[in-house]
């Protein structure tokens, strides 16, 4: 599902955010990525989404090579990914429902199906009652849940959630983590970055990865 071999990510300004990363993640894994601020968690997810390209080494996601010349195919690859961005990227001037529908608009859903599935997704994140609210009138935590609904409605093969609990109270954080980890099945892998180590300690069957200074300093767990 994900294969990273000796990947280094250096940004345009010369900052090296990831150094010599090696990582293999199979189908149906639940992966928690932790590490201090600025350690490279978001950078790793950017690499996996093809937003950045490895300056060295090789990155394969769902069989797709991440490289500049693969732009078009990377765009298609993203349709199989459910991204939850650290800054949510919800679109202002639109309702919660419209934002969630944005996740599947170009995937050939009929308008009816699109609406009912979006309402479903909102229900799963506990926001169905706010479906007609403009996102600028929602709280941060609520926006984050809209972003999560937009990711899960696509039933993607890979969920990449960047700090999905960052703005949530304990109860909500726990239920969102439960929701995301429940999406893991034979075909779906879930990658979650988080600072909230106390919430994930008790997770069984999960892979725990710790990044520090752009390097993987610890990797443990997994179903095997």
């Amino acid at each position: 599902m994900i294969r990273i071999k000796g990947a280094t990510l250096t940004y345009k300004d010369g900052t090296t955010a990831l150094k010599d990363i090696n990582l293999n993640i199979g189908a149906g894994e639940l992966v928690y990525i932790t590490g201090p601020s600025g350690s490279g968690k978001t950078s790793l997810l950017k690499l996996l989404m093809g937003v950045e390209y490895p300056s060295e080494g090789e990155v394969l996601v769902l069989g797709q090579k991440i490289a500049k010349e693969e732009k078009r195919r990377i765009r298609r690859l993203r349709r199989n990914i459910g991204p939850v961005f650290q800054d949510f990227r919800v679109i202002k001037g639109r309702t919660a429902l419209e934002n969630v529908m944005m996740g599947v608009r170009f995937l050939g859903f009929s308008p009816k199906k699109m609406k009912s599935e979006s309402l479903n997704a909102l229900e799963k994140v506990g926001l169905k009652h706010k479906y007609s609210s403009l996102v600028e009138n929602l709280s941060w935590g609520e926006c984050q849940r809209v972003a999560i609904a937009r990711a899960i409605i696509r039933k993607p093969a890979l969920i990449l959630a960047d700090e999905p609990t960052g703005n949530l109270d304990l109860d909500n954080a726990v239920s969102i983590l439960e929701l995301l980890s429940s999406l893991r099945d034979d075909k779906t892998s879930v990658l979650i970055t988080t600072h909230a180590t106390h919430l994930i300690d008790n997770q069984k069957d999960a892979v725990f990865i710790r990044i520090n200074g752009g390097r993987i300093t610890m990797e443990q767990g997994g179903r095997a």
Partner: protein, 298 residues
């Protein structure tokens, strides 16, 4: 394809939003488009009228042959017979002195009074010959050599001058057409560029979600086409009004100008304006859409 059909409502709403977002600037662009298309329509109308005029003048190419005074009726008949046989001659008529007088009276209109200053009819009898314009030189040559013909008068000079004017008009027409095309494309593509710029966050998010650039660009294409089609329609309405006014004025002041049938002219101009709108609108939109950047804001 399915995505396009399922999302038509969304695309239209997005297009409307794009137009609304920069309402004032878009209104100015719209007014500009209307004016440009209107000017274009006027040029096409002028073109149409002048071309028709030339065509008619060419069809009317005729020469007058004057013969020696001592000829009797039989000689004249023979002469007419000889001329009729020449290749390129369409019609031959004998114009009597009285008729020549009448025609001049008609041409002078209100000024016809001066003819009364003459004690007797100052016009000569002559043979009027309608000919094929392309054969002018040869026909004139032949007629001049017929015995009994004194001299031949033709309107080649006038025709040449009119053709010169028409050439200049055509040239101006081409320049205006090119200017209209370029300006319209610039206005429309700029409008779309601006919309894309204002929507860059949304566009980038859609890219991150895996939407294709054609899906992302479609609402902008609709917005551009909508603007220019409405512009074309308004310009057409203005043109129809202008043609109506123009026809009224012209036929009042210069009654013998050969104007084309009004309905045909209107149809012709409207078809051209709307076609040009669609072509220029698509061109401008596609130009504008090229400003969608790959993963612009990463």
């Amino acid at each position: 394809m399915k995505s396009v059909l399922f999302n038509m409502g969304y695309f239209l709403k997005e297009a409307y939003k794009t137009i609304r977002l920069n309402l004032l600037s878009n209104i100015f662009s719209f007014i500009g488009t209307v004016l440009i298309l209107f000017i274009f329509a006027l040029v096409i109308t002028g073109w149409n009228v002048s071309n028709r005029l030339v065509l008619m003048l060419k069809e009317e190419a005729e020469i007058s042959a004057y013969y020696e005074e001592n000829l009797d009726e039989i000689d004249k008949d023979n002469l007419i017979g000889l001329i009729e046989e020449i290749d390129g001659v369409l019609e031959v008529n004998l114009v009597s002195q009285a008729e020549a007088y009448n025609r001049m009276e008609n041409v002078l209109g209100n000024e016809a009074g001066i003819l009364e200053l003459f004690e007797e009819n100052p016009f000569e009898e002559y043979i009027e010959i309608r000919i094929h314009l392309d054969e002018t030189e040869r026909v004139i040559d032949r007629i001049e050599n017929i015995e009994g013909i004194e001299y031949v008068r033709d309107n080649r000079e006038i025709l040449n001058r009119i053709e010169g004017i028409v050439k200049t008009l055509n040239m101006a027409g081409y320049i205006v057409t090119a200017a209209v095309g370029i300006t319209t494309i610039i206005i429309i593509s700029h409008m779309i560029r601006q919309g894309i710029y204002e929507n860059r966050f949304q566009i980038n998010t859609l890219q991150l979600l895996g939407a294709s650039n054609s899906f992302i660009g479609f609402p902008f294409l609709i917005a551009g086409l909508l603007m220019i089609l409405c512009g074309g329609i308004i310009a057409s309405v203005l043109t129809v009004i202008a043609i109506n006014i123009g026809f009224g004025q012209l036929s009042g002041t210069i009654p013998f100008i050969p104007l084309p049938p009004k309905n045909e002219l209107v149809k012709h101009v409207v078809v051209i304006i709307m076609t040009a709108s669609i072509i220029l609108g698509s061109g401008g939109s596609i130009f504008g859409l090229s400003s969608i950047k790959e993963d612009a804001e990463r």
